[in-house]
């Protein structure tokens, strides 16, 4: 083995201090295998060394929480003896290197996190960020990523029921691919990744081990430069068929009561799964790499321990049950081998044909990595971003044209081109398909359903990371209540630049505090999450993007609500107040090429009152549709309510008053805490009364019907139609926009 040199230490992305710490822990210099194991476990990706001190601020408990952060996924009680198990993960860097495989293996990884908990995955959502589609490289990336998610998720038979897709130049060299998976498990049959019981066998199963993605974990903690694009590491290739067999085998193993603990091999492969399982149980593990099934000859212990080959799992069986475990794995044509056992000395001991090649205290490896409270301070440019003089921006002249431009912009346009490539119906639970505020998936055997959404407006976060994070939580919850669901849990995926830069660290800290405060206020626990740092290329960071995945519960599935207008003659009612909230809007970006200003004002009390009001109205059967106002403001929300119906589209005639506001602020401003409802005229009074009782502003603004969207703006004395367009025109712009740009090869 080569001697441990400064170079070697640097290549493993360990600092001198970190190395010293390793020497102290071991009481000697590590050998190369041990150095490799430390380097992956102490990487940012696995150890959360820059984020941990701040993540502790997030509220993680609540009456429904069955499992908070710390396990493979979080779990919340949904009644009937069941819980929803969910988590979100990023696969940004791998997807930039190889979009198809990167995205596919991202799906594979998050699925394993869910089914290792004993939950059958029932839904996936994906949140994507790409550069603008006029650049062919971005189109190529997007096509590859979407195909990869489809290729893996579809084959697994887990429906991809929703997501979010936003385009901004800033993501050109750092696309984001975040995937959320939700599964259902019996509450008292959740499996955890603990290697308990001295003497119990440690069993490897799944695919064989190859040299895939060695150093993937450290790579994810590395930023890109032109150099790393050339020295591409081995790419992990996913095999969804193998994963499907793994899923079925796992659920069968769990049902047979053979296991003590189980964990998937994700980042840092065999190293992380073995030391984390031992650490959680306060035990040790002894294993022999020579027993690990391999795909390639001549692999060293270093390579076997660090390989990130996909579709592999580690289980600790009850003593004497190994033959039954092996039989089930064989039934599903999986490779399987007993590779070691649980020990009492707290050490992860790795042998190669009996010779010890690594010996590290499991806890030190898994939990005692470095923690940094990195310095943070706002960037010098922050004020320049927020100080926007609206006087230099002329008010909108042709609102009709502006609406068409907004509807056509890829961020707002229909995402049908994406979600039609995803099987979103398999398992026959998808009650609300992609295309409404939140996806709704029923829970068979109960009267219930879960609703799910992912949201984050990263421009808001750039302009004010604290407010941006609060706004993301508010929007996610709003999407859920519009679907008739009560928010019950949150998972996040925090995508940021290089934490060693004080300005980036500041964005991170502010965002985490915003998340924490919003969740605290709305009483929504954070049960799982993921941090992805170093989303930076050639020194240019992405916008801070704290993605919020939220899960809600619908007590009676037939009351799930959708966003589109249902019937001619229904009233259109706007809940919430419209303010001068043009800052950070999609409108300013599309029409004035500015990503500036302060993000919309958010009053949490008003937001919460709106949620309670909407839930009461939906559950009371008083409304026909509910749609939250977000990107593009009220005009876009109205258009979406007209256009997104899967069946017949219905137009609307709407009269808005302006007061002292700018025209563009009324139509396209992104004031928060607003929802567009439609209701039968017979329910008008009841709706207005309920709104009043919740102190939520409410106004009847128009009527559903016809085949045009007509919006007039004015006061009592004079009103003029500022928007008047046939649905066919609006629909063509909105529904076909993505396919039009993407067909440009």
């Amino acid at each position: 083995m080569p001697p441990i040199t400064d170079d070697l230490i640097a290549q493993h992305h360990l600092t001198r201090d970190e190395y010293q710490r390793i020497v102290t822990i071991l009481g000697r210099d590590p050998n190369l295998t041990e150095l490799g194991m430390f380097s992956v476990m102490w990487s940012e990706h696995c150890s959360y060394k820059s984020s941990r001190v701040h993540l502790n601020k997030l509220p993680t408990s609540g009456p429904r929480v069955v499992q908070g952060p710390g396990e493979n996924a979080g779990a919340v009680d949904i009644g009937d003896g069941l819980c929803a198990v969910f988590k979100m993960e990023s696969h940004n860097h791998p997807s930039f290197i190889e979009p198809y495989q990167g995205a596919a293996t991202g799906v594979g990884g998050i699925l394993r996190d869910i089914f290792t908990m004993g939950a059958r995955p029932i839904a996936l959502l994906d949140s994507l960020r790409f550069g603008e589609l006029n650049v062919s490289q971005n189109r190529r990336l997007m096509k590859g990523v979407v195909a990869g998610i489809a290729g893996y998720g579809n084959c697994m038979g887990v429906p991809t029921v929703g997501g979010e897709t936003v385009f901004n130049e800033i993501y050109s060299l750092n696309p984001l691919v975040n995937v959320l998976c939700l599964g259902i498990a019996e509450k008292d049959k959740i499996f955890r990744g603990a290697a308990a019981g001295i003497g119990n066998p440690v069993i490897y199963f799944g695919s064989k081990t190859g040299r895939d993605g060695i150093h993937g974990a450290t790579m994810a903690s590395d930023s890109f430069d032109d150099e790393s694009e050339r020295k591409r590491p081995t790419v992990q290739v996913g095999d969804p068929f193998q994963e499907k067999l793994l899923l079925e085998a796992c659920l069968e193993l769990m049902a047979a009561d053979l296991l003590v603990g189980i964990q998937d091999m994700g980042a840092a492969g065999l190293t992380s799964s073995s030391c984390e399982m031992a650490s959680r149980a306060g035990t040790g593990i002894e294993l022999d790499v020579a027993l690990v099934p391999r795909r390639e000859p001549g692999m060293t212990p270093y390579e076997v321990m660090l390989s990130e080959s996909q579709e592999r799992m580690l289980m600790v069986a009850k003593a004497g049950k190994e033959d039954e475990c092996i039989a089930i794995c064989r039934k599903w044509d999986l490779d399987v081998a007993v590779i070691g056992w649980v020990t009492g000395d707290g050490v992860l001991r790795v042998k190669d044909q009996g010779t010890i090649v690594a010996e590290i205290p499991a806890k030190a490896l898994a939990d005692e990595g470095p923690r940094y409270d990195r310095p943070y301070s706002p960037p010098a440019y922050q004020d320049l971003l927020t100080n926007l003089n609206y006087d230099v921006i002329p008010d909108v002249k042709d609102a009709n044209a502006a609406l068409l431009s907004l509807l056509e912009s890829p961020t707002i346009a229909s995402k049908r081109w994406i979600y039609e490539q995803y099987d979103h119906m398999v398992r026959t639970n998808t009650v609300v398909r992609p295309g409404s505020d939140a996806a709704v998936v029923r829970i068979k055997g109960t009267p219930k359903a879960v609703a799910m959404t992912i949201d984050c407006n990263s421009r808001y976060c750039l302009l004010n990371p604290y407010e941006g994070a609060r706004l993301a939580v508010a929007e996610a919850a709003r999407n859920l209540v519009c679907s008739g669901a009560e928010p019950i849990g949150l998972t996040d995926c925090l995508n940021f630049g290089n934490p060693e830069r004080p300005d980036i660290m500041w964005q991170f800290v502010m965002a985490v505090e915003g998340l924490a405060d919003a969740c605290e206020f709305l009483k929504i626990p954070v049960v799982s999450g993921n941090v992805s740092f170093y989303n930076e290329t050639n020194g240019l960071s992405i916008y801070p993007t704290p993605m919020v995945g939220m899960v809600g519960l619908i007590d009676r599935v037939e009351r799930a609500m959708t966003q589109w207008f249902k019937e001619e003659g229904d009233d259109i009612i706007l809940l919430g107040a419209t303010r001068d909230d043009l800052g950070g809007s999609e409108y300013l970006k599309i029409m004035h090429s500015r990503e500036q200003g302060s993000p919309p004002f958010l009053n949490m009390e008003a937001e919460k009152a709106l949620h309670d009001c909407v839930l009461t109205l939906v559950r009371g059967g008083l409304v026909q549709s509910a749609h939250d106002c977000s990107d593009g403001g009220l005009a876009v929300a109205l258009a979406e309510s007209c256009l997104s119906a899967p069946g017949r589209q219905l137009g609307a005639a709407v009269q808005l008053t302006r007061g002292r506001l700018r025209k563009d602020a009324v139509l396209f401003g992104e004031s928060q805490s607003r929802v567009v409802l439609s209701a039968k005229p017979a329910h008008r009074e009841a709706v207005l009364e309920r709104a009043k009782s919740f102190a939520v502003p409410a106004a009847v603004i128009g009527t559903v019907g016809g085949d045009r969207l007509v919006v007039s703006l004015g006061d009592e004395r004079s009103a003029a139609n500022v928007i008047d367009a046939p649905l066919s025109t609006l629909h063509d712009r909105w529904a076909r926009s993505l396919e039009r740009v993407l067909n440009e090869t």
Partner: protein, 79 residues
């Protein structure tokens, strides 16, 4: 001129398809087969008389589009 292009997975990259086919061949009784690898085969007509130029052109096609050089190798012949 006709170009015949073979695109194959790089050594060491997992070939799930090859693995599944090998397994199927085995259950069908073809016990002699091993190391099945699956790649792509492309044929195209090239309107170019100059062999050297054609070489350059096809190579560039492979690099840019036909092969994913992160995980695939390619080779071609011109006839």
């Amino acid at each position: 001129m006709k170009a015949k292009i073979h695109v194959t997975l790089k050594q060491g990259i997992l070939d799930p398809q090859g693995k599944a086919i090998e397994h199927a061949l085995e259950t069908l009784g073809f016990k002699n087969a091993a190391n099945v690898r699956v790649g792509k085969y492309l044929e195209l007509d090239l309107d170019e008389q100059d062999r050297a130029k054609a070489e350059v052109e096809v190579k560039s096609m492979c690099e840019k589009l036909l092969a994913n050089t992160i995980i695939e190798d390619y080779r071609f012949e011109l006839t």
